[in-house]
């Protein structure tokens, strides 16, 4: 099986990031290849989980008045504010990564090793059920196998399993504390217990530094990695699914 590493340094809008991740998933399902993409967002963006009742949970009027970009992810989970973060996406045949929890554990084990190599004292949360959906935003509660320090989350992840392939993507918080999600949530949600990496390391940390650490930690996944530079075919393929992710009626469908 061939693995491809893409350090996607071009900051992209939410709709394009989600469309590109779906193109990687389609390639994993079709050709059996594996992909690790590391990327970032411009403009910053609020993403909702695939079936999350966003209209009931978040104040759309306030979001629009603030001029925030929004997108609905193809994966599960709850809202995430993508600002000062590194986002990862892994797309691979299900058979290569195992069951849902095995895949979670393998990917998070790699990310935790990367963050530890930078000096962050992270570990994987003990196995237990994920928090119920009413518990709040993605970073409000840690599920078993997630990357944490004490009880606070450092990485929030979600997964899609379809057509024999999985897509898991997640956010490694560099500086952001996710307070934007709380600001636009209807009601009075509890503050998220998050641990941005810069706080853990007590210094500024760059996207490039974390991307290289994750790329290095993932090396054991394959005997040899193919390095992807901006892949024009992939970007063109992503245009096929892009209209859905650009459509406000899809983003706010629930």
């Amino acid at each position: 099986m061939r693995w491809h590493l893409w350090l996607d340094r071009t900051p992209r809008p939410g709709w394009q990031n989600m469309a590109l991740d779906m193109s990687l998933h389609a390639r994993a399902a079709r050709a059996g290849d594996g992909y690790l993409r590391l990327y970032r967002w411009e403009p910053s963006c609020l993403s909702f989980g695939r079936h999350e009742p966003a209209s009931k949970r978040y104040d759309r009027g306030r979001i629009e008045r603030l001029g925030l970009d929004t997108v609905r992810r193809p994966t599960g989970g709850r809202a995430v504010w993508h600002a000062a973060e590194l986002t990862y996406a892994v797309a691979a045949p299900e058979a290569a990564m195992g069951s849902l929890r095995e895949a979670y554990h393998r990917i998070h084990h790699t990310i935790a090793a990367a963050l530890r190599s930078l000096g962050a004292p992270v570990h994987l949360a003990p196995a237990r059920r994920a928090a119920p959906v009413d518990a709040g935003a993605c970073f409000a509660a840690a599920a078993g196998g997630e990357v944490v320090v004490d009880t606070g989350k450092v990485v929030g992840s979600a997964q899609l399993r379809s057509e024999g392939a999985l897509l898991q993507h997640g956010s490694v918080l560099l500086h952001d504390d996710q307070s934007r999600v709380r600001e636009v949530t209807i009601g009075d949600p509890a503050p998220p217990d998050v641990r941005p990496l810069s706080q853990l390391l007590d210094r500024e940390v760059s996207w490039e530094e974390v991307a290289r650490a994750i790329g290095d930690a993932a090396q054991p996944w394959a005997a040899r990695w193919n390095t992807v530079v901006d892949d024009e075919d992939l970007i063109a393929e992503a245009e096929m699914t892009a209209p859905r992710f650009r459509d406000p009626s899809w983003t706010w469908q629930r």
């Binding site: 599960g76 849902l100 929890r101 399993r161």
Partner: protein, 128 residues
């Protein structure tokens, strides 16, 4: 240890089949599957009258951390859908084999039941 009732048949994708009557079966996901997924927050099921081939995608289930396809264990036509799951998909977590059933199917070929996993074979697949 997962609950694997002795009177059901199973698939490698963690769906179960319960024979209700001649030619009619009830389909859902196993106790192991609901445990893997965690708290289920949404389920999208087909309509009565829809037809599926064996291994066709008949719906989607979303848990707190994952979205996953649902695969039809047998070819057939949907005769009933569990409407209670729309308002309370958590039933699948609490009671996967009874209250949490998903669809009832009129099988195209009743002989195809023999191709499904026995409880012992499914247990062996799980390594339990």
């Amino acid at each position: 240890m997962s609950n694997i009732p002795a009177d059901l048949r199973y698939t490698t994708d963690h769906e179960y089949v319960k024979v209700l009557d001649k030619g009619l079966v009830q389909v859902g996901i196993t106790d192991y599957a609901q445990g893997e997924l965690g708290d289920i927050v949404f389920v999208n099921l087909p309509k009565v009258g829809d037809s599926f081939d064996e291994h066709g995608v008949f719906g989607v289930v979303e848990a707190v951390k994952a979205v996953s396809d649902l695969f039809c264990p047998l070819g057939g036509e949907v005769t009933e859908v569990n409407g209670a799951l729309e308002a309370d998909p958590g039933i699948i977590n609490r009671d996967p084999y009874d209250g949490g059933w998903m669809i009832r199917l009129r099988m195209k070929d009743p002989d195809s039941l023999t191709a499904l996993l026995t409880p012992e074979a499914y247990k062996a697949q799980l390594g339990e």
